[in-house]
Protein backbone atom coordinates (compact mmCIF):
# COMPACT_ATOMS: atom_id res chain seq x y z
CA UNK A 1 0.00 0.00 0.00
CA UNK A 2 1.32 3.43 -0.93
CA UNK A 3 1.01 5.94 1.94
CA UNK A 4 -0.87 9.17 1.26
CA UNK A 5 1.03 12.46 0.89
CA UNK A 6 -0.01 13.83 4.29
CA UNK A 7 -1.42 11.82 7.17
CA UNK A 8 -4.44 13.93 8.21
CA UNK A 9 -4.42 12.66 11.79
CA UNK A 10 -0.80 13.73 12.38
CA UNK A 11 -1.38 17.10 10.75
CA UNK A 12 -4.58 17.76 12.74
CA UNK A 13 -2.77 16.93 15.97
CA UNK A 14 0.04 19.27 15.08
CA UNK A 15 -2.45 22.09 14.52
CA UNK A 16 -4.28 21.27 17.74
CA UNK A 17 -1.10 21.23 19.80
CA UNK A 18 0.82 24.12 18.29
CA UNK A 19 -1.98 26.27 16.88
CA UNK A 20 -3.14 26.58 13.27
CA UNK A 21 -1.48 29.99 12.75
CA UNK A 22 1.81 28.70 14.02
CA UNK A 23 1.59 25.67 11.71
CA UNK A 24 1.27 28.03 8.71
CA UNK A 25 4.54 29.63 9.81
CA UNK A 26 6.10 26.21 10.33
CA UNK A 27 5.04 24.98 6.88
CA UNK A 28 6.47 28.15 5.29
CA UNK A 29 9.75 27.54 7.13
CA UNK A 30 9.83 23.96 5.87
CA UNK A 31 9.14 25.20 2.33
CA UNK A 32 12.18 27.49 2.65
CA UNK A 33 14.51 24.98 4.33
CA UNK A 34 13.69 21.73 2.51
CA UNK A 35 15.03 22.78 -0.93
CA UNK A 36 18.36 23.56 0.80
CA UNK A 37 18.40 20.03 2.21
CA UNK A 38 17.59 18.62 -1.22
CA UNK A 39 20.45 20.64 -2.69
CA UNK A 40 22.70 19.28 0.07
CA UNK A 41 21.82 15.72 -1.05
CA UNK A 42 22.95 16.51 -4.60
CA UNK A 43 26.07 18.33 -3.35
CA UNK A 44 27.03 15.52 -0.99
CA UNK A 45 26.62 13.00 -3.78
CA UNK A 46 28.73 15.16 -6.10
CA UNK A 47 31.67 15.25 -3.67
CA UNK A 48 31.11 11.70 -2.39
CA UNK A 49 30.40 12.66 1.20
CA UNK A 50 28.25 9.89 2.61
CA UNK A 51 28.09 11.58 6.00
CA UNK A 52 26.75 14.88 4.62
CA UNK A 53 24.28 12.88 2.54
CA UNK A 54 23.06 10.92 5.55
CA UNK A 55 22.63 14.08 7.66
CA UNK A 56 20.58 15.87 5.00
CA UNK A 57 18.40 12.79 4.49
CA UNK A 58 18.01 12.50 8.26
CA UNK A 59 16.80 16.11 8.55
CA UNK A 60 14.30 15.65 5.74
CA UNK A 61 13.01 12.49 7.38
CA UNK A 62 12.64 14.23 10.73
CA UNK A 63 10.70 17.21 9.33
CA UNK A 64 8.51 15.06 7.09
CA UNK A 65 7.48 12.96 10.08
CA UNK A 66 6.57 16.11 12.01
CA UNK A 67 4.02 17.12 9.38
CA UNK A 68 2.73 13.60 8.75
CA UNK A 69 4.31 13.52 5.28
CA UNK A 70 4.65 9.78 5.53
CA UNK A 71 5.63 9.01 1.94
CA UNK A 72 8.37 11.66 1.91
CA UNK A 73 9.55 10.44 5.33
CA UNK A 74 9.76 6.89 4.03
CA UNK A 75 11.79 7.96 0.99
CA UNK A 76 14.14 10.11 3.10
CA UNK A 77 14.61 7.27 5.55
CA UNK A 78 15.50 4.90 2.73
CA UNK A 79 18.23 7.31 1.67
CA UNK A 80 19.42 7.79 5.26
CA UNK A 81 19.57 4.09 6.04
CA UNK A 82 20.47 2.82 2.56
CA UNK A 83 23.38 5.16 2.08
CA UNK A 84 24.38 7.45 -0.79
CA UNK A 85 23.15 6.02 -4.12
CA UNK A 86 25.35 5.81 -7.19
CA UNK A 87 22.76 7.57 -9.37
CA UNK A 88 20.74 10.75 -9.03
CA UNK A 89 17.39 9.07 -9.69
CA UNK A 90 16.42 8.41 -6.02
CA UNK A 91 17.20 12.03 -5.17
CA UNK A 92 15.17 13.26 -8.12
CA UNK A 93 12.24 11.10 -7.01
CA UNK A 94 12.52 12.51 -3.54
CA UNK A 95 12.59 16.03 -4.99
CA UNK A 96 9.32 15.40 -6.84
CA UNK A 97 7.71 14.07 -3.70
CA UNK A 98 9.01 17.07 -1.77
CA UNK A 99 7.34 19.47 -4.21
CA UNK A 100 4.05 17.60 -3.90
CA UNK A 101 4.36 17.55 -0.11
CA UNK A 102 5.04 21.27 0.19
CA UNK A 103 2.07 22.06 -2.06
CA UNK A 104 -0.18 19.76 -0.05
CA UNK A 105 1.02 21.19 3.28
CA UNK A 106 0.48 24.79 2.17
CA UNK A 107 -3.04 23.97 1.06
CA UNK A 108 -3.86 22.04 4.23
CA UNK A 109 -2.41 24.68 6.55
CA UNK A 110 -4.56 27.43 5.04
CA UNK A 111 -7.80 25.47 4.90
Amino acid sequence: MIPTVIDPHTFDELQANAGADFVIELVDTFAEEAPTLLAELYAAQAVGSADRFRRAAHSLKSNSSTFGATRLATMARELEIGGMPAEAAPIEALGRELDATIAALKALARQ
Partner: protein, 476 residues
Protein backbone atom coordinates in the same frame (compact mmCIF):
# COMPACT_ATOMS: atom_id res chain seq x y z
CA UNK B 1 -3.23 59.02 42.71
CA UNK B 2 -6.61 58.64 41.09
CA UNK B 3 -7.68 55.23 40.01
CA UNK B 4 -7.77 55.26 36.23
CA UNK B 5 -9.69 52.03 35.75
CA UNK B 6 -12.05 49.95 37.86
CA UNK B 7 -9.26 48.70 40.11
CA UNK B 8 -10.61 46.54 42.93
CA UNK B 9 -11.21 48.40 46.14
CA UNK B 10 -11.53 45.27 48.23
CA UNK B 11 -10.62 41.65 47.78
CA UNK B 12 -11.94 38.79 49.86
CA UNK B 13 -10.00 35.71 50.87
CA UNK B 14 -12.19 33.59 53.10
CA UNK B 15 -12.86 35.57 56.26
CA UNK B 16 -10.28 38.19 55.32
CA UNK B 17 -10.84 41.28 53.28
CA UNK B 18 -8.17 43.58 51.92
CA UNK B 19 -9.27 47.19 51.55
CA UNK B 20 -6.62 48.56 49.25
CA UNK B 21 -7.79 52.17 49.26
CA UNK B 22 -7.56 52.38 53.03
CA UNK B 23 -4.56 50.07 53.32
CA UNK B 24 -6.45 47.97 55.81
CA UNK B 25 -6.93 44.27 56.41
CA UNK B 26 -10.26 43.16 57.89
CA UNK B 27 -11.04 39.88 59.60
CA UNK B 28 -14.78 39.20 59.61
CA UNK B 29 -15.29 42.92 59.21
CA UNK B 30 -12.99 43.97 62.05
CA UNK B 31 -9.73 45.77 61.33
CA UNK B 32 -6.55 43.75 61.94
CA UNK B 33 -3.50 45.54 63.33
CA UNK B 34 -0.88 45.25 60.62
CA UNK B 35 2.33 47.22 60.14
CA UNK B 36 2.78 49.21 56.96
CA UNK B 37 5.58 46.95 55.69
CA UNK B 38 3.47 43.88 56.37
CA UNK B 39 0.58 45.45 54.45
CA UNK B 40 2.85 46.35 51.54
CA UNK B 41 4.15 42.80 51.52
CA UNK B 42 0.62 41.41 51.59
CA UNK B 43 -0.40 43.68 48.70
CA UNK B 44 2.64 42.61 46.71
CA UNK B 45 2.02 38.91 47.31
CA UNK B 46 -1.69 39.15 46.50
CA UNK B 47 -1.00 41.11 43.34
CA UNK B 48 1.43 38.41 42.23
CA UNK B 49 -0.45 35.42 43.59
CA UNK B 50 -0.45 33.62 40.26
CA UNK B 51 3.25 32.89 40.68
CA UNK B 52 6.15 32.42 43.08
CA UNK B 53 7.65 35.81 43.90
CA UNK B 54 11.43 35.93 44.39
CA UNK B 55 12.63 37.44 47.67
CA UNK B 56 14.59 40.13 45.85
CA UNK B 57 11.45 41.30 44.05
CA UNK B 58 9.48 41.49 47.30
CA UNK B 59 12.26 43.40 49.03
CA UNK B 60 12.37 45.85 46.13
CA UNK B 61 8.62 46.43 46.37
CA UNK B 62 8.35 46.62 50.16
CA UNK B 63 11.62 48.48 50.83
CA UNK B 64 12.12 50.40 47.56
CA UNK B 65 15.60 51.81 47.21
CA UNK B 66 16.84 50.31 50.46
CA UNK B 67 19.41 47.61 51.02
CA UNK B 68 17.59 45.13 53.24
CA UNK B 69 18.62 41.69 54.42
CA UNK B 70 16.45 38.62 53.89
CA UNK B 71 15.60 38.24 57.56
CA UNK B 72 13.60 41.52 57.50
CA UNK B 73 11.42 39.96 54.85
CA UNK B 74 11.09 36.76 56.88
CA UNK B 75 9.96 38.78 59.91
CA UNK B 76 7.17 40.40 57.84
CA UNK B 77 6.21 37.03 56.33
CA UNK B 78 5.96 35.60 59.85
CA UNK B 79 3.81 38.55 60.93
CA UNK B 80 1.42 37.90 58.04
CA UNK B 81 1.30 34.17 58.77
CA UNK B 82 0.37 34.91 62.38
CA UNK B 83 -2.60 36.89 61.14
CA UNK B 84 -3.66 34.91 58.07
CA UNK B 85 -2.68 31.39 59.08
CA UNK B 86 0.49 29.39 58.72
CA UNK B 87 -0.32 28.14 55.24
CA UNK B 88 -1.42 31.45 53.74
CA UNK B 89 2.06 32.12 52.41
CA UNK B 90 4.09 29.21 51.11
CA UNK B 91 7.86 29.30 51.09
CA UNK B 92 9.32 27.77 47.95
CA UNK B 93 12.94 27.13 48.92
CA UNK B 94 15.38 28.82 46.65
CA UNK B 95 12.64 30.57 44.69
CA UNK B 96 10.66 32.84 47.00
CA UNK B 97 7.16 33.09 48.43
CA UNK B 98 3.68 32.50 47.10
CA UNK B 99 0.33 33.68 48.40
CA UNK B 100 -1.90 30.61 48.55
CA UNK B 101 -5.22 31.70 50.07
CA UNK B 102 -8.21 30.86 47.92
CA UNK B 103 -10.57 33.63 46.92
CA UNK B 104 -9.78 37.03 45.54
CA UNK B 105 -13.30 38.26 44.87
CA UNK B 106 -12.80 41.89 43.92
CA UNK B 107 -15.14 44.83 44.20
CA UNK B 108 -14.34 47.56 41.66
CA UNK B 109 -13.37 50.85 43.22
CA UNK B 110 -15.37 53.94 42.34
CA UNK B 111 -13.38 56.16 40.00
CA UNK B 112 -13.28 58.98 42.56
CA UNK B 113 -11.53 56.92 45.21
CA UNK B 114 -7.87 57.63 45.88
CA UNK B 115 -5.81 54.50 45.62
CA UNK B 116 -2.25 54.54 46.92
CA UNK B 117 0.12 53.40 44.19
CA UNK B 118 1.78 50.75 46.27
CA UNK B 119 -1.50 49.58 47.77
CA UNK B 120 -3.16 48.80 44.45
CA UNK B 121 -4.13 45.21 44.08
CA UNK B 122 -4.76 43.81 40.63
CA UNK B 123 -6.37 40.42 40.22
CA UNK B 124 -4.89 38.00 37.72
CA UNK B 125 -6.90 37.02 34.69
CA UNK B 126 -7.95 33.77 36.29
CA UNK B 127 -8.44 33.21 39.97
CA UNK B 128 -8.27 29.49 39.32
CA UNK B 129 -4.57 29.85 38.64
CA UNK B 130 -4.07 31.07 42.21
CA UNK B 131 -5.38 27.84 43.67
CA UNK B 132 -3.53 26.85 46.84
CA UNK B 133 -3.37 23.23 45.77
CA UNK B 134 0.27 22.38 45.18
CA UNK B 135 -0.54 19.27 43.22
CA UNK B 136 -2.58 21.12 40.63
CA UNK B 137 -0.40 24.21 40.50
CA UNK B 138 1.29 24.80 37.15
CA UNK B 139 4.99 24.11 36.94
CA UNK B 140 6.89 27.32 37.63
CA UNK B 141 8.40 28.81 34.49
CA UNK B 142 11.89 27.56 33.82
CA UNK B 143 14.66 28.73 31.52
CA UNK B 144 15.31 26.14 28.84
CA UNK B 145 17.96 25.87 26.14
CA UNK B 146 17.13 24.10 22.89
CA UNK B 147 20.03 22.99 20.70
CA UNK B 148 18.97 21.81 17.23
CA UNK B 149 20.40 22.59 13.81
CA UNK B 150 17.08 22.08 12.05
CA UNK B 151 14.99 25.25 11.96
CA UNK B 152 11.61 23.49 11.76
CA UNK B 153 12.49 21.33 14.77
CA UNK B 154 13.78 24.35 16.70
CA UNK B 155 10.65 26.39 16.03
CA UNK B 156 8.29 23.59 16.96
CA UNK B 157 10.12 22.60 20.12
CA UNK B 158 10.39 26.23 21.16
CA UNK B 159 6.67 26.76 20.53
CA UNK B 160 5.64 23.66 22.49
CA UNK B 161 7.82 24.59 25.46
CA UNK B 162 6.61 28.19 25.47
CA UNK B 163 3.03 26.95 25.49
CA UNK B 164 3.98 25.08 28.67
CA UNK B 165 4.95 28.45 30.15
CA UNK B 166 8.73 28.24 29.93
CA UNK B 167 11.28 30.73 28.66
CA UNK B 168 13.21 29.23 25.75
CA UNK B 169 16.54 30.12 24.15
CA UNK B 170 17.57 28.32 20.96
CA UNK B 171 20.97 27.62 19.39
CA UNK B 172 21.97 25.82 16.20
CA UNK B 173 24.77 23.53 17.33
CA UNK B 174 26.56 22.00 20.31
CA UNK B 175 29.36 24.55 20.38
CA UNK B 176 26.94 27.45 20.73
CA UNK B 177 25.01 25.48 23.35
CA UNK B 178 28.16 25.03 25.43
CA UNK B 179 28.93 28.75 25.19
CA UNK B 180 25.47 29.69 26.41
CA UNK B 181 25.50 27.06 29.18
CA UNK B 182 28.82 28.38 30.48
CA UNK B 183 27.70 32.02 30.33
CA UNK B 184 24.10 31.87 31.56
CA UNK B 185 21.85 29.98 33.94
CA UNK B 186 19.55 27.37 32.43
CA UNK B 187 17.27 24.85 34.12
CA UNK B 188 17.27 22.29 31.32
CA UNK B 189 18.89 21.55 27.97
CA UNK B 190 16.98 19.88 25.14
CA UNK B 191 19.63 18.47 22.88
CA UNK B 192 19.56 17.21 19.32
CA UNK B 193 22.24 14.67 18.40
CA UNK B 194 22.94 15.35 14.71
CA UNK B 195 24.43 18.85 14.61
CA UNK B 196 27.35 20.52 12.83
CA UNK B 197 30.50 21.83 14.61
CA UNK B 198 29.80 19.92 17.84
CA UNK B 199 27.13 17.23 17.89
CA UNK B 200 25.03 16.09 20.82
CA UNK B 201 27.41 13.30 21.79
CA UNK B 202 30.34 15.73 21.80
CA UNK B 203 28.44 18.09 24.06
CA UNK B 204 27.51 15.27 26.45
CA UNK B 205 31.17 14.20 26.61
CA UNK B 206 32.32 17.71 27.53
CA UNK B 207 29.49 18.04 30.02
CA UNK B 208 30.43 14.80 31.77
CA UNK B 209 33.83 16.29 32.66
CA UNK B 210 32.47 19.61 33.90
CA UNK B 211 30.91 19.84 37.38
CA UNK B 212 29.05 23.08 36.67
CA UNK B 213 27.59 21.83 33.39
CA UNK B 214 26.43 18.62 35.00
CA UNK B 215 24.05 20.66 37.17
CA UNK B 216 21.90 21.31 34.09
CA UNK B 217 19.82 18.25 33.19
CA UNK B 218 19.70 17.15 29.55
CA UNK B 219 16.89 15.62 27.56
CA UNK B 220 18.05 14.29 24.20
CA UNK B 221 15.58 14.72 21.35
CA UNK B 222 16.51 12.89 18.19
CA UNK B 223 15.14 10.88 15.33
CA UNK B 224 18.27 8.72 15.17
CA UNK B 225 17.22 5.11 15.17
CA UNK B 226 18.50 2.28 17.32
CA UNK B 227 18.75 1.52 21.02
CA UNK B 228 22.54 1.87 20.91
CA UNK B 229 22.24 5.65 20.42
CA UNK B 230 19.90 5.98 23.39
CA UNK B 231 22.17 3.83 25.54
CA UNK B 232 25.19 5.94 24.59
CA UNK B 233 23.34 9.12 25.58
CA UNK B 234 22.39 7.68 28.95
CA UNK B 235 25.96 6.47 29.51
CA UNK B 236 27.17 9.99 28.80
CA UNK B 237 24.87 11.36 31.48
CA UNK B 238 21.71 12.42 29.63
CA UNK B 239 18.69 12.38 31.92
CA UNK B 240 16.14 11.35 29.33
CA UNK B 241 15.57 10.63 25.65
CA UNK B 242 12.65 11.60 23.44
CA UNK B 243 12.21 10.37 19.90
CA UNK B 244 11.27 12.87 17.19
CA UNK B 245 8.69 13.88 16.25
CA UNK B 246 8.28 14.70 19.92
CA UNK B 247 4.89 13.95 21.40
CA UNK B 248 3.77 17.09 23.30
CA UNK B 249 2.29 15.11 26.19
CA UNK B 250 5.44 13.07 26.64
CA UNK B 251 7.54 16.21 26.31
CA UNK B 252 5.60 17.94 29.05
CA UNK B 253 5.91 14.95 31.38
CA UNK B 254 9.64 14.51 30.81
CA UNK B 255 10.41 18.22 31.07
CA UNK B 256 8.45 18.57 34.30
CA UNK B 257 10.08 15.48 35.78
CA UNK B 258 13.56 16.76 34.89
CA UNK B 259 12.81 20.22 36.26
CA UNK B 260 11.41 18.77 39.46
CA UNK B 261 14.55 16.68 39.97
CA UNK B 262 16.68 19.76 39.37
CA UNK B 263 14.60 21.81 41.80
CA UNK B 264 15.09 19.17 44.48
CA UNK B 265 18.83 19.08 43.80
CA UNK B 266 19.03 22.88 43.86
CA UNK B 267 17.04 22.99 47.07
CA UNK B 268 19.33 20.47 48.70
CA UNK B 269 22.36 22.38 47.45
CA UNK B 270 20.98 25.69 48.65
CA UNK B 271 20.16 24.29 52.07
CA UNK B 272 23.63 22.84 52.35
CA UNK B 273 25.26 26.10 51.33
CA UNK B 274 23.02 28.20 53.54
CA UNK B 275 23.29 26.05 56.60
CA UNK B 276 26.75 24.63 56.20
CA UNK B 277 28.83 26.78 53.84
CA UNK B 278 31.19 24.73 51.76
CA UNK B 279 29.25 21.53 52.29
CA UNK B 280 28.14 21.24 48.68
CA UNK B 281 31.71 21.31 47.43
CA UNK B 282 32.57 18.45 49.72
CA UNK B 283 30.01 16.19 48.11
CA UNK B 284 32.36 15.82 45.18
CA UNK B 285 34.31 12.57 45.35
CA UNK B 286 37.92 12.81 46.48
CA UNK B 287 37.50 16.15 48.25
CA UNK B 288 39.03 16.08 51.73
CA UNK B 289 36.85 16.83 54.73
CA UNK B 290 37.56 20.18 56.38
CA UNK B 291 38.71 20.30 59.98
CA UNK B 292 36.06 20.62 62.68
CA UNK B 293 35.67 23.48 65.13
CA UNK B 294 35.00 23.61 68.86
CA UNK B 295 32.42 26.21 69.81
CA UNK B 296 30.10 27.30 72.58
CA UNK B 297 26.59 27.16 71.19
CA UNK B 298 22.93 26.59 71.85
CA UNK B 299 21.46 23.47 70.29
CA UNK B 300 17.84 23.31 69.22
CA UNK B 301 16.07 20.00 68.64
CA UNK B 302 12.50 20.10 67.34
CA UNK B 303 10.05 17.28 66.70
CA UNK B 304 6.56 17.40 65.31
CA UNK B 305 4.75 15.12 67.69
CA UNK B 306 1.94 13.02 66.22
CA UNK B 307 3.41 12.43 62.77
CA UNK B 308 4.16 8.75 63.35
CA UNK B 309 0.50 7.95 63.94
CA UNK B 310 -0.48 9.91 60.84
CA UNK B 311 2.20 8.14 58.78
CA UNK B 312 0.85 4.77 59.88
CA UNK B 313 -2.75 5.59 59.03
CA UNK B 314 -2.72 8.05 56.14
CA UNK B 315 -1.48 7.95 52.53
CA UNK B 316 2.22 8.64 52.09
CA UNK B 317 1.49 11.84 50.13
CA UNK B 318 -0.43 13.29 53.05
CA UNK B 319 2.37 12.55 55.49
CA UNK B 320 4.95 14.16 53.23
CA UNK B 321 2.74 17.16 52.63
CA UNK B 322 2.37 17.51 56.39
CA UNK B 323 6.06 17.34 57.25
CA UNK B 324 7.07 19.48 54.29
CA UNK B 325 4.58 22.19 55.21
CA UNK B 326 5.74 22.17 58.80
CA UNK B 327 9.43 22.11 57.89
CA UNK B 328 8.96 25.10 55.59
CA UNK B 329 7.62 27.17 58.47
CA UNK B 330 10.32 25.97 60.84
CA UNK B 331 13.17 26.62 58.43
CA UNK B 332 11.90 30.16 57.93
CA UNK B 333 11.71 30.76 61.68
CA UNK B 334 15.19 29.33 62.23
CA UNK B 335 16.77 31.25 59.38
CA UNK B 336 15.11 34.46 60.54
CA UNK B 337 16.92 34.17 63.87
CA UNK B 338 20.31 33.11 62.53
CA UNK B 339 20.03 29.40 63.23
CA UNK B 340 22.08 26.91 61.23
CA UNK B 341 20.21 23.69 60.54
CA UNK B 342 22.44 20.65 60.58
CA UNK B 343 19.94 17.85 60.52
CA UNK B 344 16.50 17.30 59.00
CA UNK B 345 14.64 14.06 59.55
CA UNK B 346 11.18 14.72 58.16
CA UNK B 347 9.31 15.23 61.39
CA UNK B 348 12.35 16.63 63.18
CA UNK B 349 15.18 19.04 62.74
CA UNK B 350 18.24 20.18 64.61
CA UNK B 351 19.88 23.59 64.52
CA UNK B 352 22.75 25.36 66.19
CA UNK B 353 22.82 28.99 67.38
CA UNK B 354 25.69 31.21 68.47
CA UNK B 355 23.42 33.16 70.86
CA UNK B 356 21.06 31.52 73.39
CA UNK B 357 18.60 34.42 73.18
CA UNK B 358 18.34 34.03 69.39
CA UNK B 359 17.63 30.33 69.89
CA UNK B 360 14.89 31.11 72.42
CA UNK B 361 13.26 33.62 70.07
CA UNK B 362 13.43 31.10 67.24
CA UNK B 363 11.85 28.50 69.54
CA UNK B 364 9.04 30.90 70.39
CA UNK B 365 8.35 31.65 66.75
CA UNK B 366 8.47 27.95 65.91
CA UNK B 367 6.00 27.28 68.73
CA UNK B 368 3.70 29.99 67.45
CA UNK B 369 3.93 28.80 63.84
CA UNK B 370 3.41 25.18 64.85
CA UNK B 371 0.34 26.13 66.89
CA UNK B 372 -1.10 27.95 63.86
CA UNK B 373 -0.21 24.99 61.70
CA UNK B 374 -1.96 22.63 64.13
CA UNK B 375 -4.99 24.92 64.31
CA UNK B 376 -5.27 24.93 60.51
CA UNK B 377 -5.19 21.12 60.56
CA UNK B 378 -7.77 20.95 63.33
CA UNK B 379 -10.06 23.29 61.38
CA UNK B 380 -9.76 20.91 58.42
CA UNK B 381 -10.67 17.95 60.65
CA UNK B 382 -7.20 16.43 60.39
CA UNK B 383 -5.30 14.48 63.05
CA UNK B 384 -3.53 16.65 65.65
CA UNK B 385 0.17 17.44 65.70
CA UNK B 386 2.20 19.38 68.24
CA UNK B 387 5.68 20.80 68.51
CA UNK B 388 8.11 19.42 71.08
CA UNK B 389 11.33 21.37 71.31
CA UNK B 390 14.46 21.22 73.45
CA UNK B 391 17.19 23.83 73.88
CA UNK B 392 20.56 23.15 75.48
CA UNK B 393 23.73 25.23 75.67
CA UNK B 394 27.31 24.09 75.97
CA UNK B 395 30.55 23.38 74.18
CA UNK B 396 30.26 21.25 71.08
CA UNK B 397 32.40 20.09 68.20
CA UNK B 398 31.01 20.99 64.78
CA UNK B 399 32.21 19.94 61.36
CA UNK B 400 31.79 17.49 58.55
CA UNK B 401 31.53 13.88 59.58
CA UNK B 402 31.52 10.91 57.28
CA UNK B 403 33.75 9.93 54.42
CA UNK B 404 35.29 12.07 51.69
CA UNK B 405 32.60 10.72 49.34
CA UNK B 406 29.64 11.38 51.59
CA UNK B 407 29.72 13.75 54.50
CA UNK B 408 27.19 15.68 56.55
CA UNK B 409 27.56 18.69 58.81
CA UNK B 410 27.37 17.36 62.36
CA UNK B 411 27.32 18.74 65.91
CA UNK B 412 28.66 16.52 68.67
CA UNK B 413 28.61 17.07 72.41
CA UNK B 414 26.65 16.78 75.65
CA UNK B 415 24.45 19.75 74.73
CA UNK B 416 23.30 17.95 71.58
CA UNK B 417 22.23 14.94 73.63
CA UNK B 418 20.63 17.19 76.24
CA UNK B 419 18.58 19.07 73.63
CA UNK B 420 17.44 15.76 72.14
CA UNK B 421 16.38 14.47 75.53
CA UNK B 422 14.53 17.67 76.32
CA UNK B 423 12.62 17.49 73.04
CA UNK B 424 11.59 13.93 73.88
CA UNK B 425 10.61 15.02 77.38
CA UNK B 426 8.56 17.92 76.04
CA UNK B 427 6.67 15.48 73.83
CA UNK B 428 5.97 13.06 76.66
CA UNK B 429 5.02 15.71 79.20
CA UNK B 430 2.77 17.78 76.96
CA UNK B 431 5.03 20.82 77.06
CA UNK B 432 6.19 22.73 74.00
CA UNK B 433 9.64 24.15 74.75
CA UNK B 434 12.06 23.02 77.43
CA UNK B 435 15.37 24.76 78.17
CA UNK B 436 18.29 23.28 80.03
CA UNK B 437 19.75 25.14 82.98
CA UNK B 438 22.71 26.41 80.96
CA UNK B 439 20.45 28.08 78.40
CA UNK B 440 18.30 29.57 81.13
CA UNK B 441 21.41 30.87 82.91
CA UNK B 442 22.84 32.32 79.70
CA UNK B 443 19.72 34.39 79.23
CA UNK B 444 20.44 36.07 82.58
CA UNK B 445 16.88 37.22 83.00
CA UNK B 446 16.73 38.88 79.57
CA UNK B 447 14.72 36.19 77.85
CA UNK B 448 11.00 35.47 77.72
CA UNK B 449 9.24 34.09 80.80
CA UNK B 450 9.79 30.48 81.82
CA UNK B 451 9.07 28.29 84.80
CA UNK B 452 11.36 25.71 86.37
CA UNK B 453 10.69 22.00 86.08
CA UNK B 454 12.83 21.04 89.09
CA UNK B 455 11.91 17.41 89.58
CA UNK B 456 12.85 16.45 86.12
CA UNK B 457 15.38 13.64 85.53
CA UNK B 458 17.01 15.57 82.70
CA UNK B 459 18.10 18.17 85.28
CA UNK B 460 20.50 15.70 86.85
CA UNK B 461 22.98 14.19 87.22
CA UNK B 462 25.10 15.45 84.30
CA UNK B 463 24.61 19.09 85.20
CA UNK B 464 23.59 19.01 88.87
CA UNK B 465 23.36 22.80 89.11
CA UNK B 466 21.03 22.96 86.14
CA UNK B 467 17.29 22.97 86.32
CA UNK B 468 15.15 22.41 83.27
CA UNK B 469 12.79 25.27 82.47
CA UNK B 470 9.60 25.25 80.45
CA UNK B 471 9.29 28.30 78.23
CA UNK B 472 5.98 30.17 78.43
CA UNK B 473 4.53 29.87 74.96
CA UNK B 474 1.66 32.17 73.97
CA UNK B 475 -1.48 30.40 72.85
CA UNK B 476 -2.22 30.48 69.07
Amino acid sequence: MKAEDPAPQTMKFGRFEIVAAERRLLHEGAAVALGSRAFDLLAALVERRDRIVPKEELIEVVWPGLVVEDNNLQVQVSALRKVLGANAIATVPGRGYRFTMAGGVATPAPSSVDVPAHGRIVPPASFASASPSSSSAPTPAARLLVADDNKVNRLLLCRTLELLGHHVVTVENGRLALERLRAERFDLLLLDLEMPELDGFGLLEQRSADTALRQVPVIVTSSLEGVAQIARCIELGADDYLHKPVDPTLLRARVEASLERKRLRDREQELLERLAPGAAAHREPSAALPAGTRLFATLLMARLHGVEAIAAAQPAEETLELVNGWATLMVDALAGHGGRIHQMTGDGLAAVFAEPLAAVHAALEMAEMSALFAADRAAAGKAPVALALGLATGEIVAGFAGTPRQAAYACIGAAVRQATELAALAASSGRTVLLDGATQAALAGTGPASEPVPDHPASAPRQPAAVVHALSVPAA
